[in-house]
């Protein structure tokens, strides 16, 4: 990041400000939905895996095969590594899960979505990318994994500082 010395504290203060605002929302106690099924549990282990292959194996326990039925939409050059708009759609049916993996990030698994039936198998979100990286979207359909991959170029902006 090319933030200058003078600037860094303001960004931090803003973040701290936002954090305190978020904590303010602590009002209601975290309720654990009583009937959440076992596999609804947060995939802690998968998010801890550093590289992509381990993350996929930990999360799904099987490997994916590339498929042109998975349409991954991501910018060629990210406007900013902190906010990269990414979306995926698929024509596969019986989709139960969609996940995103950013190969060059410290932890490959970025986000994983459960798609109950009746929900359209498509997601748009904004992810962080540490540097130029391969981005992989994996769709679990009828128990099998299908993937699409795209490279996103990421670098800092500005002229120096």
């Amino acid at each position: 990041m090319t933030t200058t010395i003078g600037l860094r504290p303001t960004r931090r203060l803003i973040l701290q400000g936002a954090a305190s605002v978020a904590l303010l929302g602590l009002g209601n106690l975290p309720f654990a939905p009583a009937r959440s099924a076992a596999n609804d549990k947060y995939p802690e282990e998968a998010f801890k895996q550093k590289n992509e292959a381990d993350a996929i194996k930990t999360l799904y326990g099987k490997t994916a095969e590339p498929s042109d039925k998975v349409k991954l939409d991501a910018p060629e050059i990210a406007e900013n590594g902190g906010v990269v708009p990414i979306s995926v759609t698929t024509s596969l049916d019986k989709v139960t899960s969609i996940s995103f993996f950013v190969a060059e990030n410290p932890f490959a698994l970025a986000a994983s979505y459960k798609i109950p039936d009746g929900t359209i198998p498509a997601v748009a979100n904004r992810l962080k990318m540490a540097k130029t990286t391969k981005l992989t979207a994996i769709v679990e359909a009828d128990g099998k994994l299908y993937s699409a991959t795209k490279e996103v170029k990421v670098t800092v902006g500005g002229c120096g500082g």
């Binding site: 990041m1 090319t2 933030t3 200058t4 003078g6 600037l7 303001t10 960004r11 203060l13 803003i14 973040l15 400000g17 910018p75 060629e76 050059i77 990210a78 406007e79 900013n80 590594g81 902190g82 906010v83 708009p85 748009a124 904004r126 990421v154 670098t155 800092v156 902006g157 500005g158 002229c159 120096g160 500082g161």
Partner: protein, 287 residues
């Protein structure tokens, strides 16, 4: 021998002509003519980027690059400045300790007036910007002024800009020598090289808009303040005009001046005046 002489004579004549031409230009520049400057400024960009619609210039880098415009369009569906806008709206209607609100300080209750800022205050003999007017309103009502580079000021100006969206920039220069001097001072600041990088605002925003400085695409100078304040992903937060000027200075390794120094107020006056007619598009989202 003869051949060398003609070459010498030719270059001497050429130099003489250049001098005369330069002289006339210098004379023309001494009388300050903002209207002519604005016309020349706008025509420069309209001719340099004939395919860009005139009102599109206010979208900065997104008017220069299709791929980034798509990313921006996606973000605009639910823009990251949404929280700051809501906060600004709330702050705008929350009364001060003395019961007054910002609406009491501004014409038309502060709604839909952003396009007239900055203006030249003939009593004070200086340019007054929206951020300065907001802090003066706070001080006049016994409240502490906000930092010019922090979120509160950005939220207030975001809300006021939002209420003026689409209205053409409408900056006036009264027939007052001090106003003309402020305009000229702003113009000089805009074109003056500074910092170890030896860049002026024009080096990036006039000579190379549309080109990249690493990941970022440079915005054209025309309409560059129309989208202020901006949420920048790079700052992952809001930025006022003051914050943008200060950070641009430090990027060229020039020590920034105090926010709302005369130079900053005058360059804002110059940049807003030459964008007269182009729509307000703030608050904006930028890389």
């Amino acid at each position: 021998m003869k051949q060398r002489a003609t070459v010498l004579l030719g270059s001497a004549l050429g130099a003489l002509a250049a001098l005369v031409f330069a002289a006339t230009r210098v004379v023309a520049a001494d009388t300050v003519d903002p209207a002519a400057d604005a016309k020349a400024f706008q025509n420069f960009f309209f001719q340099k980027f004939p395919t860009v619609k005139h009102e599109d210039f206010v979208n900065g880098p997104y008017s220069m690059n299709e791929d980034m415009k798509r990313q921006w369009r996606e973000k605009e569906e639910f823009p990251p400045y949404e929280f700051s806008l809501d906060a600004g709206k709330e702050m705008f209607s929350t009364p001060f300790k003395n019961g007054k609100t910002y609406a009491d300080c501004f014409p038309n209750g502060g709604i839909g007036i952003r396009q007239n800022y900055p203006y030249f205050d003939e009593k004070e003999g200086k340019v007054v910007t929206l951020e300065l007017a907001l802090n003066r309103c706070r001080e006049a009502n016994g409240e502490a002024p906000y930092s010019y580079v922090k979120d509160e000021m950005a939220s207030l100006t975001a809300y006021m800009a939002f209420t003026s969206r689409g209205k053409p920039m409408d900056i006036k220069i009264p027939d007052d020598p001090r106003a003309l001097a402020a305009f000229e001072n702003g113009k000089r600041y805009f074109y003056t090289r500074r910092g170890q990088m030896n860049f002026s605002c024009a080096s990036c925003h006039v000579q190379s808009p549309g080109e990249r400085i690493r990941a970022e695409t440079l915005a054209p100078a025309l309409g560059i303040l129309n989208a202020m304040p901006i949420y920048r992903s790079e700052w992952s937060g809001m930025g006022t005009i003051s914050r943008r000027f200060v950070t641009c200075n430090s990027q060229t390794r020039a020590v920034p001046l105090e926010p709302q120094s005369d130079e900053y107020r005058d360059v804002e006056y110059f940049l807003s005046y030459v964008a007269n007619g182009l729509p307000i598009s703030g608050p904006g989202a930028r890389p």
